[in-house]
């Protein structure tokens, strides 16, 4: 059996989900590809060890987020932040398009760790504990990063303020 076959199986099952996360982190299709490609090479390098652990995708996701934060620091230093516009869609309601564009622009202005927290907490649905573990920080840091990120998103995208307000009310109700 080709030693790469089990990696191929892993890719068939998890590649697109990792790509979606990479895209949300970077906001740019080409950077997302580069980011994921770079991480996958690391994953493949350690495949003989990872193939036997319960969740190689968890390792891949962690590597993806940490690589993204590292890249963002480098990119900021060299002023190479992407300016690519989102692709046009054939079918999209006006409201959803406005929301998507506003959110996309606001996310692009978040510091890398805040953006990562938003993606992990609200897209990946990770708990604060799991997010903290993945980012190698405390739960308190995750809470404050999430709070700051949401506040900043609200300020950066005032047209989304009612949505954020509803969200906060819902959170209050759950407490």
């Amino acid at each position: 059996m080709d030693p790469n076959d089990s990696f191929r199986e892993f890719m068939a099952a998890h590649q697109q989900s990792l790509m979606r996360t990479a895209y949300l982190l970077t906001g740019d299709a080409h950077l997302a590809e580069d980011l994921l490609q770079s991480v996958l090479i690391k994953v493949l390098r350690r495949w003989s060890e990872l193939a036997h652990v319960a969740s190689p995708q968890a390792y891949a996701r962690k590597a993806l987020v940490n690589q993204y934060i590292s890249w963002r620091r480098r990119l900021v230093r060299t002023a190479e932040l992407p300016s690519a516009e989102p692709p046009e869609r054939a079918h999209s309601s006006e409201e959803s398009t406005i929301i998507r564009l506003a959110m996309r622009q606001a996310l692009a202005r978040l510091p890398p760790r805040q953006r990562a927290v938003i993606v992990l907490r609200y897209y990946e649905d990770l708990t604060e504990h799991d997010t903290a573990k993945l980012l190698n920080c405390s739960i308190g840091t995750v809470k404050s990063q999430a709070h700051d990120a949401l506040a900043r998103l609200r300020a950066l995208a005032p047209e989304l303020a009612p949505k954020f307000a509803d969200m906060e009310n819902l959170e209050e109700a759950h407490r």
């Binding site: 990696f7 895209y23 580069d34 994921l36 690589q67």
Partner: protein, 397 residues
Amino acid sequence: MTWLRAVLDDMADDAPQVDLTERTIRARERRRRVAAPVVATASVVAVALAATAAVRLLPAEPDAAARPGTVTDLPARGVGPLSHAYATFCRPEDGEAPSGCVNGGWRVVTRDGKTYRVGQALRGGSSGLRTSPLAISRDGRKVAYYDAKAGTFAVRDLTSGAVLLAPTKVPRQWLGSIAQLLLSDDGRFVAFSKAPALKDPAMLFDMRERMVRFLPNDWDPIGLSPDGDTITLAKYAPKTRLQTISHLWRTSTAGNARTVDVTGHYQVGGLGPDGRTVVAVESVKVTGSGCVRSGGALVHLDRETGKVLRRVPVRGLSMTANFVHLRSWAGPQEITALATPFTCNESDDAPASSFDPPYAPFTAYAVNVETGKARKLATYTAQGFFELVLPGFPGTL
């Protein structure tokens, strides 16, 4: 959180639909080979090679890092024939980048030792994975590259400065991660292919008549007939295969294709000057590791049947101490073999992700395909086999 989750989910629908599986496997193998000299640099073999390069060969192969301030942009015209080209990535994990390094940029070096930046060529990505292909004609007088401003491929005559652009635009994302170019001897035809095989096609351009033919993707072009009417291609995953497509320009759409499987795994060199001979080096798995090394012989393959015709043991070039890639033919009976010291060290086999491969010596030999006798031609410094381009066939992976 339903609202925010839904918006993020909606945004994620714009994520690229790309299969990175085979690209990752190939890039990993490529990095493994690139990284081999990292460990070998400390060995006696590599020290000897480096000394050879410094003492005997560097006058013909100037090391940009050692000559700061000598690199300028490629002049509009009047550039002499090229010895080679190399890509520069500026954060090597070991040693220093060349002075004036442009990340992902290409430099060309003339036979008389002048080095120029090719500012028109698309720069490779910061990760070092999205490469920008470049090819040099066999006589060293023309260079093909992806012109970032024009958004398509260009062929530049270095003497006159005349530039021919491909008749169609080629979006950057079509370049994939591992792009290949093959330039015909007269500079009229440019074949382009890339990995992975997506929906967008590989192409053959007639730069003079401004026509284009689609080619199968994820096949590496290894030879083109002088009239551009027949192309030979090779493929390595999941097995070695050869394909010949003829009558490319005689029909309105496509030519006749013939594909053969080769038993075993081989890396092929450029198609022979007779338009038929295919010579290869076997890829041999190192027992007990994930490493692949070169076989000890030149293997003659039948382009029509895929069968191994004969094996010629190589002499004068250690095929076990080096990893060897074949390039263009150096004469009617000699093929160029590019060698770099081979090591197999799984724990050290990939550069840290935020750094680029180190600059390492690559030595070119002319190997007689009938006798196997090798003679040394020159030593170059580059960050990898595919970051170093010699005139003619630029190599495949």
